[in-house]
Amino acid sequence: MSRRPYVRPMPANWFMSKPAYRFYMVREASCVFNLVYGLNLFAGLWQLTNGAEAWAGWLALQAHPLMIVFALATLAMTLLHTVTFVEMAPRVMPQQIRKMIPDNTVKAAMFGGIAVVTAAIIGFTAMGAM
């Protein structure tokens, strides 16, 4: 009996082979949207420092139809990130803490916190119109 172990190569498109892998890749891809949106916000801050006209130009870019589509896609990806992030967060916490506070309590607190922060930011921003 001679041994001749066969090593299977990792396929280039391994992530298409299972729903779990496809979902993982979509989750990871959310960062591309957030990266581009982060750069967009950085550009906005920059234009803000360049005066009213530059700022207006950046705001006009935000209203471009393609930009609105991109914002929608980014929002969807961000929400996917948010949900998966909250799902993972309690499992990263020290086991000692997990034994004191159930994972579901942590998740509920995080989702609650996100809702409050979101409402606060929108409320604070909208107040300026009144």
Binding site: S30, Y37, Q62, A71, T74, T78
Partner: protein
């Protein structure tokens, strides 16, 4: 230095991962609201344009300390969190990025971090 610290200090993955965690947190908590306002509600006219007026935002983000902090927290961690996943995503796609690309990725974000601080100050 204890053995624990000596061993884990040999590579900076722990730091990059902490920044990634902070970024993940910032994106989860802040980005939905920011995208909603900046990307959708105001451009689509659901919120009036005045809420993002130059006077208001420059006073907040460029002149108040709380505003400066907000600008930093909204922009910077998100970039660190995102670049970390981009870098690891390359590995997932079996693109074997060398040290050069790694330095470029995280280095660019470091430059943007410093630039953000410079902009608000």
């Amino acid at each position: 230095m204890s053995m624990t610290q000596a061993k884990s200090a040999r590579h900076i993955e722990p730091l990059l991962w902490s920044l990634f965690g902070a970024g993940g947190m910032a994106i989860a908590f802040l980005m939905p609201a920011v995208i909603l306002i900046v990307g959708l509600l105001v451009p689509m006219g659901i919120l009036p344009a005045e809420v993002l007026s130059y006077e208001r935002l420059s006073a907040f983000f460029l002149e108040s300390w709380f505003g400066r902090l907000c600008a930093f927290v909204i922009i910077v961690p998100a970039l660190w969190g995102s670049i970390h996943r981009v870098y690891h995503g390359m590995h997932d796609l079996q693109i074997h990025a060398g040290t050069g690309i790694k330095v470029f990725c995280y280095g660019s974000v470091l430059v943007l971090t410093i630039a953000t601080v410079a902009l608000v100050l």
